[in-house]
Amino acid sequence: MNEVELLNWARGPGLAYATVFMVFGLTLRVLEILSLGRPKEYAKVRSSGVKEGFRTIIRRNLPEKHCWKYITATYIFHVGLFVVIFFFIPHTQLFKDVFGVFWDGWPNYIIDFFTILSIATMMYVLIQRRVNPARRILSRPSDYFVWLVTFLPLVTGYMAFHRIGPDYTLMLAMHILSVELLMVMLPVTKLVHAVTFAMARYYNGSNAGRKGVKV
């Protein structure tokens, strides 16, 4: 299989399989969670907790102030990843194609900046996983695999865009394939937090909201 066939496969069947697996897996994961139900609340609540639940989904986007020193790198990485995924113009085209919604992408130099930022912070985060005692004790082998799966699309994307490496077609194919690997891994690893974080935050915020606490 040459690089052209690889790219065609990646853009065609590969993307379809990955999308199918991801959508299937995420739907399954979310339903699995929901199936376990939530105990009925008999205490006289101070609020229904619904508003607070949604509020927490948004509010937890900013960490508690004392946490900045632990989270800055990870935070920048997530912001970078978000910007790169959702505002690189070719990516906006993909979302337009898949979801039919379109928003304006950002100029390439901004995307470039965030890509480098994300790559750098990811490397730092990897080092932290070895160095930070709490993070280290929590780390499982899969964490390093997940790190790699997240790291590859950034690097291949950067290399493809800047014509670094063997050949643009091949790099683009590798980039798309690495994204597909990420998509496949999304529902089966802790990467699922990209979706379930909203549920976790909702439940936490909602439970606290019922008691009148802002979390």
């Binding site: 999308t19 697996f21 299937f24 993909l94």
Partner: protein, 369 residues
């Protein structure tokens, strides 16, 4: 003296002069080719020198599953062009579209040339070769394309696959490929093959490569068998609209503000970034323009399987398949399995509930202590 005159007449230099093609025209041709192939400028003189000393090269041109667009491309100008000079340098011994002979006489000419120039002739192929069902889907004079190719290729010095069909299978090979079309390189494995893809290829690319083969031999090729000189860069790399890409200025339709301002055509499906060809530099119709300059994105015609790479009008960064149905199906399947798994979960939970025994004061070990 007589000897010498005979020799001179057989060399291209001699025969061209007698046909009214001046040495200056010759040199001009060579410097144009050298420039197009990015050869060092001094190579033009060497090329002219070599060409003039060469004898006319026997060429057999086989056309298989094709549209004659490649032949059209190389011969289309009704005025004599510099590119058409290549026909003065070669002896086109068989080309069933161009030759005057027909029927038995035509096939006889081919067999003659094969015999006479055994091991020395160049075989040019345009069109893909159907191999399904013994290759019955395309025959010439009762001979299948497959047989004819194998037969002619056997004694060829080199093969030039002209056009994407011959080079990579092209349109005939596109899904679902009913005739089982394949490229020349899928059949012939033991001869040097130069691919000059494009639908059609640029005339000067064809003449340039032939001139190179006649003078300096087979040029440097990329991993797809294409001459680096013409296919080394992508359209995108050499595109004059590239600065708009870098700045993120894109035409979003063919009639919008961006289109009028000549912005990058990535978003309307330009495949320039993954297409290797010389369109952006050599251009078409004697350097008049090329598709992107005319406001249409590159469709990637010089790449393998470009027909199967999705819509010409969807950006390169999008999938090439319509995934709405797939995604909906996956959602439904996920929901079904999710509900099933959820029921299992509920079952596990109710079982746990049923098995549960309350922790009572009697369980408090301290009491017993």
């Amino acid at each position: 003296m007589t000897e010498e005159r005979v020799d001179k007449a057989e060399t291209l230099g001699g025969s061209l002069i007698s046909n009214g093609v001046s040495r200056r025209t010759f040199l001009k041709f060579c410097s144009t080719v050298a420039s197009a192939m990015a050869l060092p400028p001094a190579a033009a003189k060497a090329m002219a020198e070599k060409l003039s000393q060469a004898t006319r090269q026997s060429v057999i041109w086989l056309s298989f599953q094709e549209c004659t667009g490649c032949t059209e491309s190389i011969t289309r100008s009704h005025k004599p062009t510099l590119e058409s000079l290549i026909f003065d340098f070669i002896s086109l011994d068989y080309h069933h579209t161009l030759q005057a002979a027909s029927g038995d006489a035509a096939e006889h000419a081919r067999e003659e040339a094969q015999k006479k120039h055994k091991g020395k002739y160049i075989l040019i192929v345009d069109g893909a070769i159907p191999v399904k069902d013994g290759g019955v889907y395309s025959t010439i004079a009762g001979i299948t394309n497959l047989q004819m190719l194998q037969d002619v290729a056997k004694d060829a010095m080199a093969i030039v696959s002209v056009g994407t069909c011959a080079a990579y299978g092209g349109l005939p090979k596109a899904n679902p490929n009913p005739t089982g079309a394949v490229a020349v390189s899928d059949i012939v494995k033991d001869k040097p093959i130069i691919n000059i893809p494009g639908c059609p290829p640029i005339p000067v690319v064809m003449t340039g490569v032939l001139a190179h083969v006649l003078t300096f031999g087979i040029p440097e090729l990329d991993s797809h068998g294409r001459p680096m000189a013409f296919f080394g860069d992508s359209i995108h790399d050499r595109c004059y609209r590239r600065p708009f890409y870098d700045k993120g200025q894109f035409a979003k339709g063919f009639d919008d503000e961006g289109a009028r301002k000549g912005w990058c055509l990535f978003e309307v499906g330009c495949k320039g970034p993954t297409t290797h060809n010389a369109c952006a530099t050599v251009k078409w119709n004697n350097g008049t323009s090329f598709p992107i300059q005319s406001g249409h994105g590159c469709i990637g015609c010089s790449e393998p399987d470009f027909w199967d790479a999705g819509s010409f009008y969807k950006p390169l960064s999008t999938g090439s398949m319509n995934m709405e149905g797939w995604a909906t199906g996956a959602l439904a399947a996920g929901a079904a399995v999710g509900v099933a798994s959820g029921l299992l979960n509920s079952n596990t939970k109710s079982k746990a509930e049923a098995k549960h025994e309350p922790v009572t004061l009697e369980d408090m070990g301290a009491k017993n202590e």
